[in-house]
């Protein structure tokens, strides 16, 4: 079993990958993937029961993860490559012409690990629910995970899905919200305050946990608890508090880093703060 140290090491490498990938093409979304690095690492190293070697679209007999906030693509590609879904060297092709690593995740080129395109927000929870239903129909006891952004849940479709999941007892599903309290136009509470998210999801009938997504120990404990809450007739939600831009001092907690690439100097400064644990691609 992969230790907390291994998860932290992978998270640090994911942060390096993300910044280098985005810097190379001067486009992409660094802030949120940096905030979710521990989550991606923990998910693929420890939480998911999955098979990188034989990626099957239908995910039969394994846990499946959906990235609904597709602009976190750089982080997801990094963890997928580092988890042997495809070659690490391919990370250098991010957002380039003819690359499998499209700006937002896509299925058209058969990239292992990706099961649906995402990028236009609010759709992933519905897809994850549909997939969860198929797992039940297929009598497949494994679990389904989906990550959404906190800005993303301003989309109405998310609440259609929230109502459905409770009504139809979609209890093999664990949804996680990247609660970094930032969106493009500014802090969430200034742009479109969401009120008390825990109360909201609980009032919609979900079992809700909260955790610090940048603390590996706490995150693992929460995700273990989330898994223990599946199979009880109610969907599970983990409100994962994260710091946008975590790990880079001039990026932390700054909404401006949602979708801006670092320049040469900024990249150097950032990389000097992030340990190269597994070898840059």
């Amino acid at each position: 079993m992969n230790s907390e140290k291994e998860i932290s090491n992978l998270a640090s490498q994911i942060r390096r990958d993300v910044l280098r990938m985005i810097h190379a093409v001067q486009s992409g979304h660094p802030g949120a993937p940096l905030g979710c690095a521990e989550f991606f690492a923990a998910l693929y190293l420890r939480i998911l029961k999955h098979d990188p070697a034989g990626f099957k679209m239908d995910g039969m007999g394994e846990d499946v993860f959906f990235l609904s906030n597709g602009h976190l693509s750089a982080g997801w590609y990094s963890v997928l490559a580092r988890s042997d879904y495809f070659d690490i060297a391919e990370l250098g092709s991010f957002r380039k012409l003819n690359s499998r690593l499209q700006g937002h995740p896509a299925t058209a080129d058969g990239l292992p690990g990706v099961r649906v395109a995402s990028g236009s927000l609010g759709q992933g929870l519905s897809v994850a629910i549909g997939y969860s239903l198929s797992k039940k129909l297929n009598k497949d006891p494994y679990h389904v995970y989906v990550l959404m952004g906190d800005g993303e849940i301003q989309e109405g479709q998310v609440w259609e899905a929230a109502i459905f999941a409770t009504a139809k007892k979609v209890d093999n599903l664990i949804a996680v919200i990247d609660y970094n309290k930032k969106q493009i136009d500014g802090p969430l509470h200034e742009v479109m305050p969401l009120g008390n998210l825990k109360n909201k999801w609980e009032s919609f009938g979900w079992q809700v946990l909260e955790t610090d997504g940048n603390n590996v120990k706490e995150l693992l404990a929460a995700m273990e608890q989330a898994k223990a809450l599946t199979g009880k007739g109610k969907p599970v939600m983990v409100l994962m508090h994260t710091i946008m831009g975590k790990g880079v001092d001039f990026m932390e907690d700054r909404h401006q880093w949602h979708g801006s690439p670092p320049n040469d100097a900024q990249l150097q400064s950032a990389l000097s703060q992030l340990e190269e644990t597994l070898g840059d691609y």
């Binding site: 649906v116 395109a117 519905s126 629910i129 997939y131 198929s134």
Partner: protein, 319 residues
């Protein structure tokens, strides 16, 4: 001249319902979803027979489309069903990203399409759906003409690999396509051979095109009537072969002139063999309340309109 008999008017949506019941029995991967319109979509029998494979989503079509995509990922063959306006415009981005771009094996079954929805009026009368759906890469677009063809098209859609948009209607209409007529997606059906003008029709206007053919014959004009049930992929060869012979064409559809079957025919002719084309379609208007037959007449989608279009096409050809 081939004889087509109305064996008893039925609504095309009932053809869909009948096919679904059959599919439920023969294909355990088929799942039906509905957004609070089960009776209208004729899915009550399916829902009763296969409750574990019927998913009621309530009035939440965006969620329904996403769920359908997810089911398809898990190897199911989901039919996501509602009215045509709710099945397309309302959820266009959901279809575009989660279904079309992601190339998921989802079948969108859209009822009550066109002006013949009737009294509910323009908010429900969907006249832009064929256009919206055909513009999506990976999407197959089918508009069957009667009960028998709708049943066959539904079954064919279940066997097709990839996203399908299937649109059909509310009212009872003549049922004339032979039950054993083979339905091949993308293969147009020659209903009536002719030499003077090619009439390409879809959906509820196919029967009217056949009626128009009789009227034209009395005027000394032999019209070739071709049933284009699949707007995408279009049977380009059938269209070009026919127009090469006749020299002019008419398109007939229960849909907007901008972006439907007629536009596809126009594109085909313009690219390969420019010939006069007259279009029977709704002329850049929204619908309104009325009975189906009244509306067909008011919006100029009726047999005399097809006849007049054919005469105009022939006249332009002969100039």
């Amino acid at each position: 001249m081939n004889q087509y008999i109305n064996t008893g008017s039925k609504d095309t949506r009932s053809g869909f319902g009948a096919a679904m019941l059959e599919l439920g029995k023969t294909n355990t991967d088929v799942v039906a979803l509905c957004a609070d319109l089960t009776g209208s979509l004729k899915l009550n029998e399916f829902a009763e027979a296969f409750p574990e494979r019927f998913i009621q989503t309530g009035i939440a079509e965006a969620n329904m489309m996403g769920i359908a995509a997810g089911l398809a990922i898990g190897g199911k063959i989901p039919f996501a069903t509602t009215f045509a306006n709710f099945a397309t415009g309302r959820v266009y981005d959901q279809i575009r990203q989660s279904i079309a771009y992601s190339n998921k094996n989802v079948k969108i079954a859209a009822s009550h399409a066109g002006i013949t929805l009737g009294e509910d009026g323009a908010t429900h009368q969907m006249l832009e759906d064929i256009g919206m759906m055909k513009m999506l890469p990976n999407m197959t677009v089918i508009n069957p003409c009667d009960y028998n063809q709708t049943k066959a098209a539904t079954i064919a859609a279940s066997k097709h690999s990839g996203p399908v948009y299937l649109r059909f209607g509310r009212p009872k209409v003549p049922n004339f396509i032979p039950e054993n007529q083979e339905f091949i997606i993308g293969k147009a059906i020659l209903l009536q051979p002719g030499n003077d003008v090619s009439v390409f029709a879809a959906g509820h206007l196919v029967w009217r095109a056949l009626e128009a053919c009789k009227v034209l014959k009395d005027k000394g004009i032999t019209a070739e009537i071709i049933n284009i049930h699949t707007i995408k992929p279009l049977d380009v060869q059938a269209i070009l072969d026919s127009v090469k012979k006749t020299g002019c064409a008419v398109s007939a559809e229960e849909h907007e002139m901008n972006g439907g079957l007629g536009d596809s025919i126009a594109q085909t002719l313009a690219l390969h063999d420019p010939k006069p084309l007259e279009m029977v379609a709704v002329r850049d208007k929204f619908g309104e309340s009325g009975t189906p037959d009244e509306l067909i007449r008011k919006f100029n989608l009726d047999t005399p309109d097809i006849v007049e279009a054919a005469l105009r096409a022939v006249k332009r050809k002969n100039k």
